[in-house]
Structure formats: structure tokens, C-alpha cells
């Protein structure tokens, strides 16, 4: 092989790997990302049933109902609209009524949000940033953002 051919092989294979990587990234970005929605978004926009979304807001006071078999249902509110959520599993340590929460899952055929994960917060004072901003949009949030101390 000549020097030129060697260089071409190198550049060619590098180009091929990068092209594959780029294709994978674009494909995955198109398909595998999850949008964050507030209860108002869900009420106002028509989000197709079966599409994965993240729902964030406050857990409505007095809405948490625990059934047997580790099933739990509660309502998420942004003070303007409310979405009912069901979840099977163990709730994170810092899940409390009246506190911020982020859940991920799909909207079921009956309009209930079927969550397969409820995100844990790592600190008792911290409000998920998305939730704080969604509440701000509804004019219900005044505190300092995500202040941890």
C-alpha cells in the first residue's frame, strides 16, 4: 500500500465510524427523548396516548391513596389544572403531599397518567427546577429557586 492509500483507509474508516455514530445520535434524539409537561400542558395540548412524557408539579394535598400490592394513586397539580397519576412501586423517600414531584410514563386511554418512575429528590428543601418554573408560569411560585441550604 502506498502512503496515500494508507491515509485514505484511515480517513475512510474514521469517517465511517463517525457517520454511524452521528446517525445513531440523530435517530435516538428523534425517538428517545422525553418532553417535560405540566398538568396545564397536558390539559390544553392533545398529547397522544402512549407517548412517553415527564409530568411535574405538586402532589395535591390529600390526594394520595395507597392500594394493596404497592399500588398508589395521587394527583399532580400546578394550581391551575390537575392530572391523576397511578404508580406501582415504592415512592422515593422525599415524596410528600404538597411537595414537588416529577414522574415519567404515558397517558392511559382513560386520561390517567400511568407513571413507571417517580423521581427521587436528593434533598428535603429542593424543588425540581422544571417544577419551579412550571409553577412560576402559573404565578404560584415565589421562593428562591432550588435553594438547598
Amino acid at each position: 500500500m502506498t502512503r496515500k492509500q494508507r491515509r485514505l483507509t484511515l480517513i475512510g474508516s474514521a469517517g465511517a465510524v463517525l457517520a454511524v455514530a452521528l446517525a445513531l445520535i440523530l435517530f435516538a434524539l428523534n425517538d428517545q427523548i422525553v418532553f417535560f409537561q405540566s398538568p396545564t400542558d397536558i390539559t390544553e395540548k392533545s398529547i397522544p396516548a402512549g407517548q412517553r412524557i415527564r409530568l411535574g408539579g405538586l402532589v395535591e394535598e390529600g390526594s394520595v391513596v395507597r392500594a394493596d400490592n404497592a399500588e398508589v394513586s395521587f394527583r399532580v397539580t400546578d394550581m391551575a389544572n390537575v392530572v391523576a397519576v397511578t404508580y406501582k412501586g415504592i415512592l422515593p423517600d422525599l415524596f410528600r403531599e404538597g411537595q414537588g414531584v416529577v414522574t415519567e410514563g404515558i397517558i392511559g386511554p382513560d386520561g390517567t397518567f400511568v407513571a413507571d418512575s417517580v423521581l427521587a429528590k436528593h434533598d428535603e428543601n429542593y424543588m425540581p427546577k422544571e417544577v419551579a418554573e412550571a409553577l412560576k408560569d402559573q404565578g404560584h411560585w415565589q421562593g428562591g429557586e432550588g435553594e438547598t441550604n
Binding site: A21, I25, I33, F35, T148
Partner: protein, 662 residues
Amino acid sequence: MIVELGHYALVLAFALTLVQCVLPLWGALSGDERLMAIAPPASVTTFVLVLISFVVLTIAYLNSDFSVLNVLQNSHSAKPLLYKFTGVWGNHEGSMLLWILILVFFGALVGLFGGNLPKDLKAATLAVQAWVSAGFILFLLATSNPFTRVVNPPLEGADLNPILQDIGLAIHPPLLYVGYVGFSITFSFAVAALILGRTDAAWARWVRPWTLLAWCFLTLGIAMGSYWAYYELGWGGWWFWDPVENASFMPWLAGTALLHSAIVMEKREALKVWTVLLAIFTFSLSLLGTFLVRSGVLTSVHAFATDPARGVFILGLLCFFIGGSLALYAWRAPMLKQGGLFAPISREGGLVLNNLFLTAACAAVLVGTLYPLALDAVTGEKISVGAPFFNLTFGPLMIPLLLAVPFGPILSWKRGDLLAASQRLYAAFGLALLFTLVTFWAWGMEKVLAPLGVGLAVWVMAGAVSEIVTRVKAFEIGPKRAFSRLVGLPGSAWGTATAHFGVGVTVLGIVTASAFQEEHIVTMRPGDTVQLAGYEVTFDGAAPRRGPNYTEEVGHFTIRQAGALVTELDPSKRIYTARQMPTTEAGIHTIGFSQLYLSMGESRGDGAIDVRVYFKPLITLIWIGCVIMSFGAVFSMADRRLRIGAPKPAARRKTAQAAPAE
């Protein structure tokens, strides 16, 4: 008073790094030996000064001196002694101080042990290291001073986040930081080489051991962080593709690539320009990680507090160091001489392939980590990029790389023979095929990908063993002589084989733990039993208990197999009194390499609780593999060729060559 002393030492250290930024570099460029000679004592003194301020902060924590704001916000007098100590870096200010301490420690190491480096290279490297140190010490002093006092100190502090009150905090951050920050030395070497416009033999020899050292610690740090999250957070997951995890994983991927390209540079003088760029990238990713974690753009257990001023400051540092070094690279890199031609099928070719896939995978992780931030900044739209994205991008890029791993070390330099290499790997291939078929036979069509994954892992492990067998020519020269060759193998050969074997072990753990895990989420009342993977898990009841700074509800579970007692587990729910914050303590029992994992949810009042029970087959292999990898790095560092030290004096090298070959 002593607190002010620590503060003062830090200010002095800053002043000294400013001197070290300028004078040695001037000396290196103008050939003035007296100016160059300033660098080593300056770097050692800076280290001593930062050490003093670190010790002072530690004393403030141990004495629970609540007149210091940092101690007040993050400590409590009832906290166990170990956590008072580790709590020093369990907060933003303290952890940045630890970061800086390690940074100047590496500078001091070069200052002390760089005696046989060319003087100008040493001076320029230390000057660049001082630039980084000065930037971060200024950051600490200006935006996150750990020594700020409170005028009217309260009697009690706010306590440390309970999740961090764990032995993991003593191990994970220091290991991770040594890894992260260790890459600063290769960065400084690379930038110094660009400033001086040459990469000589000494340069090539110095880069690899430092990379190995940093990589070794980063591997352990990431593994430790993963295990900590696994047992502490109570979700049973060991990797979440969380942006903060990615922040440490990206320098690891780039560092792994650097480790391999440095071999080519050292042995064959090829890929110099690329290695310099990779060294810059690796530390840039470390800096990016520091920015993501410390600036508060991400919300996680690592982001202790959000203060916009800090984010802007680190972003400024990031732009300065990354932009500056890349601009320097664009300007000076064409001056570096390239050497060493090689055919595409050769050891060099294999290492280039490794670099290609690792950098592409690193880029995929980078896009997935930064895309949500960029989208939020530009359109205000909030998205999350989670495991599915990374499984789809990172996964496919790793498969060809893992398939190629066994070939690399068997190919010869310059021009390799793929057919001959394949023949040496017949046994490894057969073994991999066997394991694939056995797994497939055991699980049937239920899992199609898992057997292939198991086969891939076995292929990498068996390939590593084949490499050693090939090197000692075990089947050609008889066992006795083969054994003496085995003992005489250079450390780097053992290092390669061990590290590659470790990769296979980790892959095996990942595949089995994710494909064959069994999980039950149930509500249990005292006396209830669930069946899982052939084990019977019985809930006997729960009782309250008091700890030093928490109260807990402890569940008692008995695990039996076919009626015979296996073990008893006591997972618990804790409430830490100072912050009134609950945490989950999982109950874990290790059986061979597999684990039984129990965690409790909230109790329901009538004695019933929600329980999550997992059986995770071979999961410990994930972390054991990482430990094996880091042993590989240690073996490589022990190679006599790489003894920290650069070219031996010519005379000694000649005698070494004259001596009989090992």
C-alpha cells in the same frame, strides 16, 4: 484565629501560583535557568499552603466550629466523627478545596520527581499547572470561600445531607478527584509541548504513566460511586445515565483513548498530534464535568447549592482553558513532527480503531448530556435524555470495539497478519460460542440478545488469556520454558491482559444483571412470604430503633432456600433528626457473585409495608471488573520501562541493551 490562618494560607497560595504562572514560562522561552528553577519550589510550597488551609477546615469541622458558615450549614455536633471528617468535602466549598488540593499535589509531584525531565519542559509544565491552580483558587476565594465567618454563631448546625452520611463519602470523592484532576498533568504536559513546539522522547515517556495513574483512580472512583448509589438510594440501579454520572464517564472514555494512543506515540512515534489533542480533550471534559456538577445547572445530589455567580465563574474558567488550549493547538500543532508509518492492519491500526470508537462513544454521551441544557437555553423546552438514548447510541458503538479488543494486542506492530491473529484466537472464539449457545439453550427464545452479550463478554475475557498464552508460546516451547517466559513478561503485557480481562468481567456483570434480574414489588404483612429466584423471603415484622443522629424503622426478613435458612436481612427506613429527612437503607446479601437486594417503602400503619425484592445475578462482577481494570493499570505502571523517570542517560541505556534480553 486558626480559621483566618487557613484563609490566609489560601490567599498566599494564590499569590504564589501567579508567580509560578509567569516567571518559569518566561524562563523556558528565553532559556533563563534561574527563572525556570523557580517552578519546583513554588509548586511544592503552594501544595503545603493549600494543605494547611485544608487541615484548618478539617479542624473546624472536627471541633464543630459553627462560627464558620460552611461548618454551620453542613455539620451537626451529634454527627459521628467519621462524617465530621468526610463532611469537609461533603459540600460545595470543601469539595472544591479538595479538588484544588489534589491539583496542586500533582504539581508538587512533578516539581519533586521531575528531576530528569528537560528543564524547559518541566518549567513550562509547572507553569501551565499553575494557571489551572490560580484559576480555581481564585474561584474558591471569590465565590465560594469555605472560611467565611458568621457574626452570631448559633449553637447547632444544619447537619450533612443524610445520603452523604456514609462510608462512601470517605472513598468516592477522593478517588474520583485524583482521577479527574490527575488528567491535569497530561494536559499541562500537552500544553507545554505546544508552547515549546516539540514532543521529544522524554515527553512521550512521561505522558503514559501519569495517564495510567489518573485513569486507575478514575476507574475506581466511578465504580465506587456506582456501588454507593446502588446500595444507598434503594432503587437497586447501578447506573442511571444521569448527567452527573456522564460528567465523570466522559473523561474516563477520553482518558481510555489517551491511554491507548500514548502507547503508539511512545513505541512508534506516531499519532503525536492526536495524542496532544486527546490530552487536552480529556482534561477539558474533566473541567466540563466540574462545571456541570458544581455550577448548579444540573440538580442532583452532587449539586450542593446553586449560586449563579459560581456558574458564570466556572464557565469563564472553562472557556479560558479549553478555548485557550485549543487555539494554541491550532496554532502550534502543525509544528510537531509526525513519524512512524503503519499499515491499517497492525497493532497501531487496532489502537487507532480503539480511539475512533471511544471518541465517537464519548461524543454520543456528550451530546446526550448537553442537548437538554442547550435546548432549554435556546427554546425553553424541557426534555430529558435518559437510558434509552444512551442504550441506543453508546451500546452499538461499544459492540464492535469489544469484538476487536482481543485482536489488538496479538497483532504485530507496523504490519500485522489478521489471519495469523485469528488462528490464535480460535480457542477464545470457541469458548465464546459455547457460552452463547449454553445461555441460549437455558433461556430459549425469551432472551435473544442476552446470550450474545454473554458470548461477547467471554470472548473479551478469553481473548485476554489467549494474549498471555500467545506471548509465552505455551504450546510451542513446553511448559517449563513457557513458565519462565511467563514470569519474565513485562509489566505492560500483564497490564494489557488484566485490564482487558476486567472489561470482559464488567460486561458479563452488566449483561447478566440487566437481562436476568428478578424483581418483585409487593405489600407485605408480618408472616408474608414471597418467592424469588428459588429463595423464600419472609417478612417477620418491623421495630423502631435509635441511632446516633437518626431514628429508624427496621424490618426483619428471613431468607430461606428450600426451607433451609440462608440469611436474615434488616433493611430500614431512617429519619435523620436534624433535617427531618428520610432515607432508605437497603438490605443486601451476596451469594457468590450475585446479590439479593431488599428495600422497604413507607409503612402503611396496619403493620404492612411495601417491599421491593430483587435478585441480581452476577451483579458484583460489574464492580469487580473495574477493580481488575485498575489492577491492570497498576501492572502497567510497574513496568520498568515506565518507571516515573524519563530517558535513561545514554551510557546506562547501552549497558542495558548489551545485557541478555529478558
